[in-house]
């Protein structure tokens, strides 16, 4: 009982009744709580704590000699290498081309992917024609096609853009047409019943309705884009995070390898955070 006053009166009444009839009062206890859980709650710092604990464990392990330096580089050494990379100015030299490749490639792939996905969602003819094609190219490891892209688009930036764009394209298409299919049909009927033009229905009802699905699809597509970025840069790039990692790997320079990997992780976290921002803005209307 939430209200103490009500509880008190209830007790008093029960006592009075007991006195009047001299029936023994029954045992009282609150109902066992069985609800709660199964709802994601925001606990911001836990993730960071897990991360720090792991790093500290690695640091302690490598310092005490429990973990040999050949197995895992010491986190503090990795940090020192990173600082060195930053101070030498090489960080930007590697990072900027990577980021620009990622942006161009992912933008191209996502834009075309969303466009094609919407067309598939809207026109059954396009659907019949393209869905099997998309299903056929989805499972191809795009990295395997890199030589082909090099022939088609040249060894320079072209083939890298193409690889990233192609890899982002397929998951975006699949997510987008699924999202369009899931748009509430009653809303579309409503639009038709008010004689909205076809274009208005698509722009004002179908697109916003599909937006949540499109954005969660983009999350996956952009992670794939980062993976492909490294793959593309491992082949014939002078600068770029991928080239940096490849070089470190060839020399078994674990510190630099880890610096490169960490930069990629941070890049991934940034992309994901940016998407969350976009989602918060575009999907304000959701709970």
């Amino acid at each position: 009982m939430a209200d103490p006053a009500a509880a008190a009166t209830a007790t008093a009444k029960a006592a009075a009744a007991a006195k009047a009839t001299t029936v023994p009062t029954k045992a009282r206890r609150s109902v066992e709580f069985r609800g709660g859980g199964f709802v994601p709650q925001s606990r911001r710092w836990i993730g960071l704590v897990v991360f720090i604990v792991l790093l500290l464990a690695a640091e302690a392990g490598t310092r005490s000699g429990f973990i040999s330096n050949l197995t895992l580089p010491r986190p503090s050494d990795v940090l020192a290498t990173f600082v060195e990379l930053f101070q030498s100015g090489l960080l930007w030299k590697h990072l900027l081309p990577s980021v620009s490749r990622l942006m161009v490639g992912a933008l191209l792939g996502a834009t075309v992917g969303i466009g094609v996905g919407i067309l598939i969602g809207l026109f059954s003819l396009v659907r019949a024609g393209l869905v099997p094609l998309v299903a056929a190219i989805f499972p191809i490891p795009k990295i395997a096609l890199l030589p082909l892209f090099v022939i088609w688009f040249g060894i320079d930036e072209g083939s890298k853009y193409a690889l990233i764009a192609f890899g982002t394209f397929t998951p975006t298409v699949v997510a987008t047409y699924g999202a369009v299919d899931n748009v509430d049909r009653t809303l579309i009927r409503m639009g038709q019943s008010f004689s909205l033009s076809w274009f208005s229905i698509v722009r004002k009802i179908v697109l916003p309705g599909a937006m949540p699905g499109i954005l969660s699809g983009l999350r996956i597509s952009l992670a794939i884009a980062i993976i492909l970025l490294v793959a593309a840069e491992m082949l014939g790039a002078e600068y770029g995070i991928g080239a940096y990692i490849l070089e470190a790997g060839a020399l078994y320079d674990l510190e630099r390898l880890f610096v490169g990997v960490t930069i990629l992780s941070i890049l991934g976290v940034c992309v994901s955070a940016a998407l969350t921002k976009v989602e918060k803005h575009l999907l304000r209307w959701r709970v």
Partner: protein, 255 residues
Amino acid sequence: MELQLENIGHSYDGLTVLQDISLNIPTGRIICVVGPSGCGKSTLLRLIGGLERPTTGQVLQLGSPPARSINPLTYIFQDFALLPWRTVEGNISLVLEDHQLKTAETAAIIDDVLARTKLSDFRTALPRQLSGGMKQRVAIARALAVSPAVMLMDEPLSALDSQTRELLMDDLIGLWIREKFTAIYVTHNLNEAVRLGHSIVILSRRPGQIREVVEIDIPLDQRHPGEPELESKQQHLWQMMRDEAAAADKELIDG
């Protein structure tokens, strides 16, 4: 503008849903349609509003709608059908945007319908912030905004609790008294039917056919709850419906 249904019949892949429906819908009156579940009431409404083509027969429009009518045949849906990403105001302006109205004109229409449905204080609220009754009022405001010649309402109050339903019924009566709109009102609820209908069409179970048309002559604003004539009409409707409903209930959906 009057509507006339001529021998309407409809079937879905061999399943006959409606048969031989002929009905006149005169201007300025509310026609209630009642019938057991699955008898084709919603289908009938979709046929009248041109969202589907009847298999046989035709829906005729007699005369032309008033010039100021932006969308002559306008629906009010059971589940409100509001865009969750648009505010109250945005949901209403949605149906005006395609019609090349001047900005001031649009604003005036929105102000007017919000005032008529007592929603002026909520113009910037999102649908998720509104109760069911308020959502349906927004849907009614949206329908009023396009000055319909005929309103097509498919169980507009079914998703609401009974208190809210009473209040909205009063609102609908108030709106009708102010401006005598034409409406076809599909409902499960016989009480709604006798409160709002000038005539009540009873459909048989599937395939839906007109069993009877009951006229009620008491003016809408004098139909107080407990009125003997209304009670007896409602009783009569229930007698007609009961066997149909019981029989319909036992049928398999795809049978």
